[in-house]
């Protein structure tokens, strides 16, 4: 069965790395350039991703705010969908805020795509 993922990151370099890595791992991808586009993708009635990867600092809508709306069940996507935060904000407070917002994993940039893929596969039970 094909796996799917939603990626929201305003950094083209990060998007290109994630696209390449996850596509090679067999994921169908929905790629968003900012938080609001991510919100629209996750509010699509057909949205059923196996995993969501969010940046924190994005134009129009922060990743943590978007994650809270997901966890509150305000969007069409399953509120329990696994979410990984991928961000440059790596202080203890940032990590705690990300996890309190409902993130399953919190990775900081610079990051290892191999580690990210391993965490994705663990979260979705591949």
């Amino acid at each position: 069965m094909t796996k799917s993922a939603v990626i929201a990151d305003d950094d083209e370099t990060i998007r290109s790395i994630l696209q390449y890595k996850l596509s090679n791992a067999g994921f169908d991808l929905t790629v968003c350039h900012d938080g609001e586009a991510g919100r629209e993708a996750l509010n699509d009635p057909d949205a059923d991703p196996d995993i969501v990867i969010l940046d924190v600092m994005m134009p129009r809508l922060k990743g943590t705010q978007l994650l809270r709306t997901v966890r509150r069940g305000e969007l069409a996507v399953d509120p329990d969908v696994p979410v990984i935060m991928l961000t440059s904000r790596g202080t203890e407070d940032d990590v705690l805020e990300g996890l309190e917002s409902g993130a399953n994993e919190y990775l900081t940039k610079p990051f290892s795509p191999n580690e990210l893929l391993a965490r994705v596969e663990r979260l979705i039970g591949v």
């Binding site: 290109s16 790395i17 390449y20 966890r71 509150r72 069940g73 399953d78 610079p110 290892s112 795509p113």
Partner: protein, 416 residues
Amino acid sequence: MTVIADPSSATTAVAIPPVALTAAVVVLAASLAAVVIVTLGYSLRSDRRRRRRTPIRADLRSELLDRLYGRDEPAWDEWVATLSTTERDELESLLDVYLRELRGRDADSLAELGVALGIDERARRDIADGGYWERIHALVWLALLRDAPDRSLLETHCRETPRERAAAARVLYAAETTDLATTGIDLLLEAEPRSFSVFGIDTLYRVSETDPAPLFERAAADFETWDPALQQQVLLVTRHLHTVVGGADLSWVIGALSNTEPRVRSAAWRALDAYGWNRGLRADIGAGSDRIADEPAPSVRASAYRALGAWGDTEAVTALRAAAEAETDDRARVALARALFPHWGPDGPDPGRGDIPAPGRGGPDGPAPGRENAVGSDGDAVDPFDAAWRWTSEHARFDRLARDISGARTRGVTRR
């Protein structure tokens, strides 16, 4: 000597010859036209350059990712040998971007591409022989490649400015060298250091986080000789360190509590946030004594309250409650209320603990614990600390509400 001014001179208009006026206008217009033409020329040239390079960059990016992720061996040397000068320039630019985002095996592999492009050798040459900006640029590249050069190269050529010191220490940090803490602190703080930029403070933090001992030893020896801005920065770094050294000499931090500069005293209090467990240190500070009450600067008292709040034990909370009676500054009162709230608010621990008298705590909107009688019966004469407490309480309630991720789900919001 007396000078008598001609009263008519103040009102006399100076006549400018029309020819001179015309010439000035022509010169001005010609200058503006020249600026416009030059600007347009540069813009068109850079636009053409960008258009020419965009497809090259896209092709290189695709090839880079394909070699990085799509093959067993990226064969960087073979690839680099086929590239033109323009393509190599563009590839360096791409490599710069990707190395900043990646770590682990992928970053190691990309570092080999940097070696294939000859960046490491060029960087070493630039550090030894280049000017200031070439050295900075070279240090940035070596940090990205995680390639630490010989220490004497750094110590000899990279101490001109705080920026350069930080860039040199950053190379050691990126390369995860075993002498990071010792050599890094030497590079940053030895021989008449000056205050750092944000990048420098971040570097000092990262270097010290691996092992704070060299920083503490340096500060114990030299703190008094540093300028207040650098003192404040070192205290700021100390505050944020997660690695606590049990037997470290922190007398310099306690000494900084008596510094002549309020900003240094304030930073010293916050640097003590993580040392509530150290009873000996706390005895030396005398936080429960008159030290805080005698502090003239409200901002410093506020920092002291925050430190006591971070300690959060019975003794600290008792000191905070005592300070609530005496504090006269509005902002310091709010800081005090915020420091006390986690320990004495509705979500705090059981009020019956220890030797603290148990007040009747109200709800989130209730008066400050133990101060219920301070509120006037007509509801208008609100005790100043109680106003701060109510503000803190309301702030905490809204903060909880904003962070709550369960409310709507339990209310049964419709989903697909």
